[in-house]
Symmetry: C2
């Protein structure tokens, strides 16, 4: 398995990018509150949130950030990649109705370690709402097979 992805490693180039775009709905925020346990009233209580510095309910920053993981896990580099790290800076609030575009771009390739450094940004229109970098690793197909067979930890 993951043969296609592994063979693709040598085809990866600095500057390649992929995106995932999605309109955040009120339902997404409610579901994220449930799945994370984060019921901070700034996400769920319009009366509270209207008096906050955000002047209304905002989405969880980690919900927006999750779209970065979606690009990495499904598109670039895609299934089989191992997510090692992610830095996030939350730049601006995101609200229900906003359409977020998460973009992942290859910044550095380390062939020896089979690691990629990726720049990651989420935007709403021209506004960067989340910025950061990710590090992912692409195991060799034979390593995956050996591990699956119990030959390696």
């Amino acid at each position: 398995m993951d043969q296609a992805l592994t063979d693709r490693f040598n085809e990866l180039e600095v500057g390649q990018s992929a995106t995932y775009a999605r309109t955040i709905s009120e339902a997404d925020i409610v579901l994220f509150a449930g799945v994370s346990g984060d019921d901070n009233p700034v996400h769920l209580n319009e009366i509270y949130a209207a008096e906050s510095m955000f002047k209304g309910r905002i989405a969880h920053g980690m919900l927006t950030a999750s779209y970065i993981s979606t690009v990495i896990g499904t598109r670039l580099p895609g299934p089989g990649s191992i997510y090692l790290g992610q830095n996030l800076k939350f730049r601006a609030p995101v609200r229900a109705g906003d359409t977020v575009t998460a973009t992942v771009t290859i910044k550095e390739i380390d062939p020896a370690k089979r690691r990629l450094t990726l720049t990651t940004i989420c935007t709403v229109g021209d506004t960067a709402v989340v910025e950061g970098e990710a590090v992912v690793m692409l195991p060799k197909a034979e390593d995956v097979k050996a591990t699956a067979e119990g030959a390696a930890a």
Copy 2:
């Protein structure tokens, strides 16, 4: 609003901590896949995942990381705090049935900027599964009020 939290700023001390613990269920993983759009088969397809280096389905790293946001947004410092940044290192896989404890500890306090640096760790038993740091800001109550009234951006 946020008066209680703002008054509490001066009571915060380096070393204070708070936790959120939760058993990750298969339903959580399914819901997170839906809300994030991350349908990577390593999370949803047991036959695929069994042949991966993880030898079975694992939770999304960002699902585990979301529990850090839960501690910050609901407990320490709690509602009213502004999440500015988060670094994450994904150390080990988490599976349905694992009980994750997210712990946030105050590492540094910057009274001038009203910022906190927090160490953040998620553990399953004795294993660190996600580690990192967060930066949060606590606005002054009067700044929040001024902003809500439109007197400031």
